[in-house]
Symmetry: C2
Subunit: 189 residues, 2 copies
């Protein structure tokens, strides 16, 4: 498609915020972005984690405040409104991610919510590793808490329990699903 070849490209650094732009969406070519909002008392809520192939943009949201924060270096290409019809599948996938996070945020048992989130992260960001599946993404416990609607303390407690149970290990600052447990995880999710 000609417009794809000529679309303007934008590069952002880790921790930069992507600027709002009317009448445009962004397609992520590389890197990871999280979208966030917060309540009046400052509680941060993450409404999605977005990576290669996803579309993002302030035109997709009604939330205010709304920020798109780069979790890694990020490369984007722009999609003007007249071309959005070519990105229906990507826009539907955006909605599905919002809806999946909605579902797990309702889980009363935060252990369940975190287990489902980790399953989704493994599917979306997983890389094969000798010992299992590595989530190719560094997320702090606070950032995980902001995805499931919990607290950092609770997330740390649950992750420690999963490590003790032999489901999960750490590799540097990334999380690794151990091979023996990965089938069970996928089955359960």
């Amino acid at each position: 498609m000609i417009y794809a070849e000529t679309a303007a490209s934008h590069v952002y650094k880790r921790r930069e915020m992507i600027s709002r732009r009317d009448n445009y969406l962004w397609k992520i070519e590389s890197g990871v972005v999280r979208s966030l909002t917060w309540t009046e008392d400052g509680q941060v809520i993450c409404s999605g984690l977005w990576a290669h192939g996803d579309v993002i943009g302030s035109e997709l949201t009604n939330l205010n405040p709304y920020e798109m924060e780069c979790l890694t270096d990020v490369q984007l290409t722009e999609i003007s409104r007249s071309h959005w019809g070519n990105y229906v599948n990507e826009i539907i996938r955006h909605s599905q991610t919002n809806e999946f996070l909605l579902k797990i945020s309702h889980c009363r048992a935060k252990d369940d919510a975190l287990r489902q989130l980790l399953g989704w992260l493994t599917n979306r960001f997983g890389e094969d590793d000798r010992q299992g599946r590595l989530i190719g993404l560094q997320l702090t416990h606070q950032e995980i808490a902001e995805l499931i609607g919990s607290t950092r303390v609770t997330v740390t407690r649950i992750i420690n329990d999963l490590e003790k149970g032999g489901f999960l290990s750490r590799k540097g600052r990334k999380l690794l699903f151990l091979a023996d447990s990965s089938e069970q995880w996928h089955y359960e999710i």
Copy 2:
């Protein structure tokens, strides 16, 4: 548009479930539908309330189980995959509703979540009434609880508090925002 004039129409009765259909979306011509899923222990989670002009369909979701339940009599027209590009705005609005419900499900204070939900319901389903704004929709307290991730008991308690505070009244089985408080409500939401 020719396809709109010739699109097949479907009618469902209140409490019927809309059938899944691959490669089609449904546009709601009249009536109200809620989409739902549930956890393994049977907790129902409502992922959206949909009405005139919205698009719905199992093709929009990754959740399983997933049901679309008619809260009133409903009339739908079908949209085949080749026409989805004409419904980008409606698909984006679907995503925005999921995301709004995600945001309020994270609210730790369920009073806040319910207040925001009622504000949204008033904007989406509100009808002018001599005393204020009437939410033109019958929802049980249980159904409201399934939208904000709370319990029926908590919803009943909060609604009673709002009635005592003069914010809310009942009109038959519908909720009515009282005129004196409606500006404040809209401001806060």
